[in-house]
């Protein structure tokens, strides 16, 4: 049993719903009690969908348990098939139904329909949402393509040459409730098209079962989100020899590397390499002298594997930040996140517990947090600017405007989204610094809260706790006075460093000079 106040991921059947809702001509009969219908609102409220998810809940009740719930399943399957006439039927169960073992998938298969039926067995007590989505997409792909395995030759990534047409690729992974998938797909298609590469199928987002059957018309697969598509890509590689890409095109460097990888895999010459550097405004905006203050800003990153890894790279190499924390809730991508963290000399935080993330954030004393909606709120409590880079998300993460994370425009979006909160933080500081009290009797309203006041609170409350753990280090009046002169956005770090230094040198009282000594020591 695990005590959970909040969870980054839903249960695996919600992952299955993400795949079903992303696609056309699919229906999902879910053996589940009435309460599980809450999941519909994720799609209709967060994504503002104008269609209900294509899901029929069997809605069994306590009184049905004594009777024949299997009959209830069959009745619902029959009604759903008649009403929605899907081209492929997904059948599965949520946590409660898993316990009563009605085998809805097997029941469906015995009902004599001639459409493909995918039996989804998603262990609700050990797996989570992204795994469920990945497994569903994999089972669906497998079901619809398995008969073609034996009849098909291995697919050569170069065959477009013989076929005398532009190369074709599939874009796999984008789904509803994924972070900015809607726009990433547009951006990546645009980039590929500019390079003379056609998109064969995008799936699951917007695809029908027919499209899944057409996957093997492409030469290679673009694995756009590993959390969702890697299992399917791997199966397609094993069974049809289809190569797939490993680079996630988030940030300028990764986008260029991605374009390179696609060209290499297809054996297509890359003719406009020089141009690529100038497709996004990020490099110039980052180089512009007003961005100089970004150098070395301490950033803490937590999110899904794909976005956390990409964010770390952009933060360090493209914006000149210092990454002081990196983590993910995607256990499936723990290995990759650990590798990236190691390169950055930080320890990766792999957890599903947001309180641990908040603690780590507090310890790292960052100047910017990049995280999920939960980190946004944790950062808010700590008075640290934050930008959201990953699911789980809220309705404000599904903007009306074109807001990809990937490709050239994605890099532009990232520059704006990450720098704006920092800039606002700096504005706070400057206004605070330049304001004079008698002119601001009502107090100055801040988007970060009354930074100065609250920061002091945080310092004070930290202090109380730390006094015990750090063997009663005392701040003298001069030390304390000097500390308040340090700009707010580095004050936390200066305080920690000075105390570290004092412990190291066995200095029991921190004066203004200790502060300068520590500053010199750590510079």
């Amino acid at each position: 049993m695990e005590l959970t106040l909040w969870t980054y991921e839903g249960p695996p059947h919600v992952g299955a719903m993400r795949i079903a809702s992303s696609m056309k001509d699919i229906h999902y009969v879910l053996h589940a009690p009435q309460g599980d219908t809450y999941a519909d609102l994720l799609f209709t409220m967060i994504e503002r969908r104008g269609q209900r998810p294509p899901v029929t809940y069997t809605t069994f009740q306590a009184r049905d348990l004594g009777g024949d719930t299997a009959e209830l399943v069959k009745k619902n399957i029959k009604e759903a098939v008649e009403r929605f006439k899907p081209k492929t039927l997904l059948v599965g169960e949520s946590c409660t139904a898993e316990l009563i073992q009605d085998q809805p998938g097997a029941l469906a298969k015995g009902m004599g329909f001639d459409m493909p039926i995918v039996n989804l067995e998603l262990p609700a007590y050990s797996k989570k949402e992204n795994w469920g989505a990945s497994e569903t997409f994999y089972q669906l792909t497998r079901t619809l393509l398995k008969d073609k395995v034996s009849f098909s030759d291995k697919i050569s990534p170069f065959r477009w040459k013989e076929l005398g047409r532009r190369p074709k690729v599939n874009i796999l992974g984008p789904s509803l409730l994924g972070f900015r998938c809607r726009d990433d797909v547009i951006e990546i298609q645009r980039i590929l098209s500019e390079q003379g590469i056609d998109t064969n199928v995008v799936a699951p987002l917007g695809a029908s079962p027919d499209d899944i059957e057409r996957l093997i018309d492409a030469e290679i697969n673009i694995c756009l989100y590993q959390e969702i598509a890697e299992a399917s890509c791997e199966w397609l590689k094993r069974n049809f020899g289809m190569e797939y890409t490993n680079t996630i095109p988030i940030g300028i460097k990764n986008t260029i590397e991605f374009i390179n990888e696609v060209h290499e895999k297809l054996d297509l010459p890359l003719t406009n390499k020089e141009e690529l550097e100038n497709k996004s405004k990020l490099p110039w905006y980052s180089k512009s002298v007003d961005s100089n203050y970004l150098t070395g800003k301490r950033v803490f990153i937590f999110g899904d594997g794909t976005h956390a890894i990409a964010a770390a790279k952009i933060a360090k190499e493209e914006l000149g930040f210092e990454v002081v924390g990196l983590g993910t809730y995607s256990r499936e991508m723990a290995r990759q996140v650990r590798a990236t963290a190691k390169d950055l000399n930080v320890e990766a935080l792999i957890t599903n517990n947001y309180l641990e993330v908040e603690d780590a954030m507090k310890k790292a004393a960052p100047e910017l947090v990049l995280g999920t909606q939960m980190e946004r709120h944790s950062a808010k409590r700590l008075g640290i600017p934050c930008s959201v880079i990953s699911t789980p998300m809220h309705v404000q993460d599904v903007p009306a405007r074109y807001s990809p994370q990937m490709g050239w425009e994605g890099a532009n979006v990232i520059f704006d989204d990450w720098v704006h909160p920092l800039m606002m933080g700096l504005e706070e500081h400057l206004i605070d610094m330049f304001k004079h009290d008698f002119e601001f009797v009502d107090g100055h309203q801040s988007h970060l809260g009354h930074t100065a006041t609250n920061k002091n609170n945080i310092l004070n409350s930290d202090e109380k706790k730390e006094k015990n753990s750090k063997e009663e280090i005392i701040w003298t009046e001069s030390g304390r006075a000097e500390l308040t002169k340090v700009p707010f956005f580095v004050r936390g770090k200066v305080k920690t460093n000075t105390e570290k230094y004092a412990i190291l040198r066995g200095i029991p009282e921190i004066s203004d000079e200790t502060l300068y000594d520590a500053k010199a020591y750590f510079s």
Binding site: P33, R48, T56, Y125
Partner: protein, 418 residues
Amino acid sequence: MSKVEFKKETGPREVFCGLTSIVWLHRRMPDAFFLVVGSRTCAHLIQSAAGVMIFAEPRFGTAILEEKDLAGLADAHEELDRVVNDLIERRPEIKTLFLVGSCPSEVIKLDLATVAEKLNKRFLGQVRFVNYSGSGIETTFTQGEDGALKALIPLMESSNEEKLLLVGTLANNVEDRFKKIFRNLGISNIESFPPRQSTELPKIGKNTKVLLTQPYLSDTVRDLKHRGCDIISAPFPLGIEGSTQWFLAAAKAFKIGELKVHEIISPLIKRAKLALESHKEILKGKRLFLLPESQLEISLARFLHNECEMDLIEVGTPYLNKDLMKEEINLLPDNTKIVEGQHVEKQLDRVRNSNPDLVVCGMGLANPLEAEGISTKWSIEMVFSPIHGIDQAADLAGLFSKPLKRNQILTSKTLVTH
């Protein structure tokens, strides 16, 4: 009883389960903690329904069952013990801990009552444990509150003091208004259940006169009766009419004359009617379809027809206690069609065929209906907003007039929904 048409329907539903009521119960009693014993689905459900509240207020959580907990019940009990210990250690300010059963815990027959009993012994004088089920196989949405209140009744001491007991969660400011009005009427001993602190449970007995503020408390009412309480029969205090009759019924139970009641509330009624006017202008003659969810549907239908002159197409309700709803049903117009239960697909067919101006429904259905050009109002807002009482009648009407007004402002044609 007026000639109302009743129908029952079964099939796939689109409603919240009883766990959802934790979202307002934890607000009402900030010294309590609600620990759901369930699956990741339960945790995800509550956080999805709670929205931004989850970021401010972790006074509810889930003990998520894992593979190993399913292996043997003994182990599960032990695990739950551990989780509760951890929780209480980290949150020593908790005074009452609700162990809330869920679909999976009910199916595997986890005995929360026994667990609660053991824990009560161990934490005697520090934390009280009660248990109830909010499972979706037994309860719908607001019924969760019924379960939670029922679970508290055994903890309530007995007293023969005469008092008015308001039963059902109210917004604090509405509660204050009601108490003020009752005091003006001459009723001074008034308590609320649930109280604002879980430890301050009212005492009850044969001189306790229970006045329900919410229509979804069947089990609670039954147990209060068993404790000797007198249940005042009345419609619910939604709208001017419902509230007036509700005050009158209470006054009657306390032998206060009707004249006195009218004297106190007629200025309130006068201004409420004035305030209602602009909303009525929008709502009048509009056709309303209520899908089942909150059990408030019948009272809302009565208010929206009688006071706002809307036409009722169908009034859905997840569950119907004809006894409790008797006074309400009497106030409904003839031929009102009440449908208990749900077959969501068939009901939506009826919605589409009946060409309504406004549909009251859950959040899962609202946008899809809007995309078809049908205005909607989500029912969940009714349990979060202060809508009870005469002074709130216009605000209550406003919840329904606002989407119609918006629809008038914005273009009304069917839009492509991106």
